[in-house]
């Protein structure tokens, strides 16, 4: 591998890692702060991608589709929390797993009924459809770089939200002691509802961003789900910062693993997880 190729692979790793972070951040929020094991997280990702596809074909513009889609996803998240998840905080994890597994099946069916089972592509917006020539033969789509930039911006925004705002303070407090926060006169139910809606929106937004490069197809959420759990476990449950570091680590391991040890490409990410868990059973970063 010459140096240019190495740098390009590094860029690939970074870009894959950042997108993973975007999906997994929602999962770690819901999992870490609310204690809910949400298997349907991948379905929210799929929902986002399909929303992007449907709305883009309706409005003819990905940007409009994303703006509308974010509002829609937030509303769906809010509703789901109100109707289903709010009943589950006091129940054990098995009930949550059953509910969210049921949701996966429902989302797949609803998708099948509404959009069908075909594979669809989403056009990259004109403005971002160019490519940058990186080496003699390889060029890099600007849209991929754009995704990375958006992910970085969101990571910073989330860090600021949780560390430096009043809402973030309530979220952090709520995750460590729900009753105490309530007795201080804070509507913790509303805080939870917002966090859940935020988590769903992040996953759906990741789906919308990824739709033009990944295309939309049945079962796309399930592929993302497992790797997201790996990110959350490596990074430390509930830690946004940890999710970022873990996602980047996985991006590196996956990308270079595929090139250097192609025979074991499927294994490397899980080896990494095992190693991290042996070294730090709670994940790299502990809490928020």
């Amino acid at each position: 591998m010459d140096f240019t190729t190495f740098l390009i692979q590094l860029l690939n790793a970074l870009q894959y890692g950042l997108l993973l972070f975007l999906v997994a951040s929602g999962l770690t929020l819901i999992f870490g702060i609310m204690g809910i094991i949400n298997l349907a997280h991948g379905s929210f990702y799929m929902m986002g991608a399909y929303i992007a596809f449907s709305l883009t074909s309706l409005t003819g513009n990905l940007l409009t589709a994303v703006v509308l889609g974010i509002a829609l996803a937030a509303a769906i998240g809010f509703l789901l929390e109100w109707a289903l998840f709010s009943k589950l905080y006091k129940r054990d994890h098995l009930d949550q797993v059953l509910l969210t597994y049921g949701l996966i099946l429902m989302f797949e069916e609803v998708r099948s009924v509404i959009v069908g089972d075909d594979v669809h592509g989403v056009a990259i917006p004109q403005l971002l459809s160019a490519s940058v020539q990186l080496s003699e033969t390889l060029s890099y789509p600007v849209y991929r770089l754009f995704i990375s930039a958006v992910c970085i911006a969101l990571a910073v925004a989330m860090y600021w939200l949780i560390r430096h705002t009043r809402l973030g303070m309530m979220i952090r407090a709520g995750s460590s002691n729900r009753e105490m926060v309530q007795s201080l006169g804070i509507d913790i139910d509303l805080v939870y509802r917002l966090v859940f809606a935020l988590g769903v929106t992040l996953a759906a937004f990741a789906g919308m961003l990824a739709a033009p490069v990944s295309s939309v197809y049945p079962g796309m959420g399930n592929q993302v789900l497992i790797i997201c759990f790996v990110v959350v476990v490596i990074g430390g449950v509930g830690s946004i910062w940890g999710a970022l570091v873990a996602a980047l680590l996985i991006g590196l391991a996956d990308t270079f693993g595929k090139v250097i040890f192609p025979e074991y490409a499927g294994l490397i990410v899980y080896l990494l997880m095992a190693a991290v868990l042996l070294w730090r059973p709670e994940g790299i970063f502990r809490r928020i």
Binding site: T5, Q9, Q15, S131, T137, V213, F256, V259
Partner: protein, 395 residues
């Protein structure tokens, strides 16, 4: 409603009496020849639902064209949704064989499910017609007198592509595929023909199924700078790969080739990225075959959509069965003669006439196709009457 005899009841009983008066001759005749029981075990939900439906439509079209009969016998269908779930396959197949007592089992799309069905069919000696799944084993190590296939083996289109790429003077080629049996068999078939013709595989790359993060591989291909690339992908993965390959700017400098699945049923989503790609398969758009034109017109008028390769395979499954049933005068209990007739049949398929190899896989022309405006237009015949080598088949 309580009067006991309203208008609807009256009409119904009227029909009943009328039917009783008019029809007695029919059941008398039918008792002599019971319907042939056909078990369709295909995916009707999930990713492959569209394929399962196309196969069913094709099969039923052939039956309708025979006046609702196959080889002179009426047909009764028993349907099971296999969900493309290999774990449920033995149970589903047994349901049709033991509970419904089917005379012939038709299925399926997914190779894993089809392999399980093949094993059940071997044990129970049930007549099986595979209308799609391409796993080499079905007409290889697992071949049996009662097992037929009307589609293709993974080896066939890939082998044909090996020759095409060698003829195009490509010397150094990189291959890329998902790491599972169908992908590996495709690459093996390609490699066999390409190396025999003097080509060299620079690097064989695999990624775990169903991973679609292709960027590292594209970077690697750009660094290796081969003359061409051969891939196997299908469905969503095929769409993403073709688009990524184009977006990485590789399409202009390093031509991409693949088995036909790379551009089948995916062109809508691939858009301009797929334009001009060359693939090989046993069916194509724009074939100059009268049977194909007639089939396409009949299919379009019956189902209000265009047929695809899967519909053709379903259609031919019914034709193959019809050839067998007709030869034994409708008496499906004459198994040996039925099988013999099916083996010897020449199927007048929309893809062009084909016969069956010793291992019961089609000996067929493989077409080279080029993507032109959302169609896989035929360019030439890449391999004439290509037979699968049926390695491991002892029959």
């Amino acid at each position: 409603m309580r009067n006991g005899y309203n208008r609807r009841n009256f009409l119904l009983s009227g029909f009943g009496v009328a039917a009783g008066l008019v029809l007695p001759s029919a059941p008398l005749f039918a008792q002599g020849a019971k319907k042939v029981r056909v078990g369709l075990m295909l995916p009707y939900t999930g990713t492959y639902a569209a394929l399962g439906n196309a196969i069913t439509n094709g099969f039923k079209l052939a039956v309708e064209q025979g006046g609702g009969k196959l080889g002179g016998r009426e047909i009764e269908y028993f349907t099971v949704d296999d969900e493309s779930d290999a774990a449920k396959a033995p149970e589903n197949a047994n349901k049709l064989i033991k509970r419904d007592n089917v005379d012939v089992l038709v299925g399926t799309v997914h190779s894993g499910v089809a392999l399980a069905m093949t094993r059940v069919a071997r044990e129970t000696k049930t007549l099986l017609i595979v209308p799609n799944a391409g796993a080499d084993e079905i007409t290889g190590p697992l071949c049996a007198p009662n097992i037929f296939r009307t589609s293709f083996s993974a080896w066939q289109p890939a082998y044909a592509m090996g020759n095409v790429m060698a003829e195009k003077k490509h010397k150094n080629v990189v291959t890329l595929s998902w790491k599972y049996s169908f992908g590996e068999q495709s690459v093996a078939g390609f490699k066999e023909a390409f190396e025999k013709a003097g080509g060299k595989i620079v690097k064989e790359m695999y990624l775990p199924f169903p991973n679609v993060e292709f960027q590292p591989y594209l970077t690697e291909i750009a660094a290796l700078k081969p003359d061409a690339v051969f891939v196997f992908f299908a469905g969503g993965g095929a769409v993403k790969f073709v688009k990524d390959y184009d977006a990485a700017g590789l399409k202009k400098t390093i031509p991409l080739y693949g088995s036909g699945f790379l551009t089948d049923g995916t062109l809508e989503a691939q858009g301009a990225s797929a334009e001009g790609l060359l693939t090989t398969l046993h069916y194509a758009d724009g074939l100059d075959i009268p049977k194909d034109k007639e089939f396409r017109a009949a299919y379009a008028s019956a189902f209000k959509m265009q047929p695809d390769v899967y519909a053709v395979q379903g259609y031919d499954s019914a034709q193959l069965l019809a050839a067998g049933v007709a030869a034994v005068g409708g008496d499906v209990s004459k198994r040996a003669e039925l099988i013999k007739a099916m083996e010897a049949a020449t199927i007048d398929s929309p893809r062009g006439k084909f016969t069956l190899s010793k291992a019961h896989n089609p000996v067929q022309d493989i077409y080279l196709r080029k993507v032109e405006g959302k169609e896989n237009k035929v360019v030439s015949v890449a391999a004439k009457a290509l037979a699968d080598p049926a390695r491991g088949c002892r029959m």
